[in-house]
């Protein structure tokens, strides 16, 4: 036990006593994440505001006399122009200089005013460019918004009793429309994202350090000095795996805390409540999550150390670890798109079971047996891997000495 503690202590000292390491493992990723996310949300907000500010240029053909006045009344700001050259207008829309083209048929007003039963219904055509933000916005507000209002207005002139045409409404006055367990709903939203984030954070946090811990020591020639110390190979392995667990666990706690604290900035002012991800966890849920996360950190650390044992250099180890990372990532993502309730035997599949169990804890759908199975499988696999690593440490070839 003492050997494990010494090795673990040294590996932790390597990270926690080195300012540069602390910065690169804990602070830099958080800063990058916050800066990038804030930048992205700021820029998209700016783009939205810019579209809102823009006064759309709308070309109207054969406009009824009162149409421009009607547009003015609706409060939708736009610059209305007459169509002179249709081909040119088409190019302008394609090029983004004009935003919308509304094509009323000739004699629109007469056709509408003199409508008799059985007459053909007149059609108003609109043209826009969906790949231009301004044009798309103009289409939304004017073509689908203002024109519909104009239709209603004309309809009201034709029909005395508009109510008669409505027949019935759906949910026009029904505040109790949504019936759900808020806790469960919050869990669902968080549950789709959490396994994914946990995977990224726990695995990515451990990747760089883990490869350095074993392959790096081999590469630098420092591993042999440990191997001639009077401690068991398994103590060296466990010391390193535990240190890696602590580092990856600590880094993921830092990341998650930073995400929670800086969430408003990253989402450009929107709070968690706006997004429906506010969630209070019961002590039981927190306990289950914590225990499972420790088990996951143990398994991931064992995987990373195992892969590093087979590599001679850190570079080689990194290239071996990447596919493992991908695999873990894909299994994490899978839970985001699975809607069926997971079958019981899914909980026997290592790594994947942790994703569905994490989700299950948050949505309170996981049973004690399923949770126990997940925990057992994860810890057992981790232990087997540690055994394999210890065996590999015995091998002269693996240790390259």
């Amino acid at each position: 036990m003492d050997g494990i503690r010494q090795i673990c202590g040294k590996e932790l000292a390597r990270v926690f006593k080195d300012g540069k390491m602390l910065f690169s493992v804990f602070i830099l990723p958080v800063v990058i994440m916050i800066v990038v996310m804030s930048l992205v949300s700021n820029m998209s907000q700016k783009a939205e505001q810019d579209v809102e500010k823009h006064v759309p240029v709308v070309y109207v053909e054969n406009a009824p006399v009162e149409f421009e006045g009607f547009l003015g009344q609706t409060g939708i700001a736009c610059e209305v122009r007459d169509v002179k050259d249709r081909e040119k207008l088409r190019d302008q829309i394609r090029g983004g200089e004009a935003d919308l083209w509304i094509e009323f048929p000739e004699h629109f007003a007469e056709a509408v005013g003199n409508y008799q039963k059985g007459d053909e219904i007149v059609q108003v055509k609109t043209h826009y460019n969906p790949s231009e933000e301004y044009s798309r916005a103009a289409f939304d507000t004017i073509s689908t918004g203002a024109l519909e209002m104009y239709r209603q207005t004309l309809l009201a002139e034709r029909v005395d009793d508009m109510q008669k045409l409505t027949v019935f409404t759906v949910n026009s006055d029904n505040p109790d429309m949504i019936i759900q367990d808020d806790q469960k709903a919050g869990g669902k939203v968080l549950g789709t994202m959490l396994p994914y984030f946990v995977t990224i954070l726990l695995f990515a946090g451990a990747m760089g350090i883990g490869t350095d811990m074993v392959a790096g020591e081999k590469e630098r020639g420092t591993m042999a000095s440990l191997l001639v110390s009077p401690i068991k190979r398994s103590s060296i392995v466990l010391g390193k795996v535990f240190a890696l667990m602590i580092i990856s666990g600590a880094s993921s706690v830092v990341y998650v805390a930073a995400m929670v604290v800086f969430m408003p900035q990253m989402l450009g002012g929107a709070s968690g409540e706006d997004l429906g991800i506010s969630l209070t966890l019961s002590p039981r849920q927190i306990g289950m999550l914590a225990l499972l996360l420790v088990a996951i950190a143990f398994l991931y650390s064992a995987i990373i150390v195992l892969v590093s044992v087979f590599a001679k250099t850190v570079k080689e180890a990194s290239s071996y670890v990447t596919p493992m990372y991908m695999l873990v990532l894909v299994l994490g993502i899978m839970t985001m798109f699975t809607t069926d309730a997971p079958k019981s035997w899914f909980y026997m599949l290592p790594i994947y079971n942790t994703s569905i169990a994490l989700q299950g804890i948050l949505t309170q759908e996981v049973t004690a047996a399923q949770y126990g199975m997940t925990l057992g499988v994860t810890l057992a696999l981790g232990a087997v891997l540690v055994g394999v690593i210890a065996k590999a440490f015995e091998s002269e070839k693996m240790m390259a000495i």
């Binding site: 003492d2 010494q6 000292a13 390597r14 630098r220 042999a224 191997l227 001639v228 009077p230 000495i401």
Partner: protein, 258 residues
Amino acid sequence: MIEINNLTKIYKLNKKQMKESKTTNPLKTAVDDLSLRAVPGEIYGLLGPNGAGKTTTLRCISTIIRPTKGEIYVAGHEVQKEPEQVREKIGFLTGDIKLDPQFSVDYMFDFFGRLHHVPEEKLKARKEELFEYFGIKDFAHKKIKELSTGMGQKAAIAVCLVHDPDIVIFDEPTNGLDVVTARGVTDYLKKLRNEGKLVIISTHIMSEAEKICDRIGVIIDGQKVAEGRLEEILQETGAQDLEDAFFELYRERKGEAL
């Protein structure tokens, strides 16, 4: 005491290694049926050319690699059966074993001291003694990566002796050291011997072997071809000095091809 009985170490070569050594045989015998005994209070030198099997022998003694055949007893413990006990008794140093460049000499000394279960009080005393002897005090707080080669070697020697081992195994102890530092190291080895410790070194430097070794085992192609005190080897070969004696043995072994 170190007792080696019929040690054989055969390496399996991979294709690349086979190509490098221009052979089609995937097995390479590094040490071939070697037996020797070294006792406390002596410096035993393994003398031989590069690739003779000196380092392999020392690594087998240190439990870093496993013998293919034969037994090695270190202070009564067999290396394959009780490797931890063997490692407890020895201090092993080679140029390939390095200290973690990220840590200070101080930290490394304490770390290995604790791994060897050295009590805190004794650890302090050992640090004082060894740092003083090797002149490490001035750079004890520096990280290993900031040290010069000589400083690094001194630090490595001090760290490997932290637990005051009864048996000290040095692979090419003065390799890469300047004359002054090399002298310091060999003097320290003599001091250890005088304190009743067993020191076993490997070297290809004849003068070094002549000066410091009490007994010498000459190894060529993994086999021991001569063993004894310097005078005994000179007498056996009829040579004037160790270098001549070595070439005499080498010629005998390799034929007239030399």
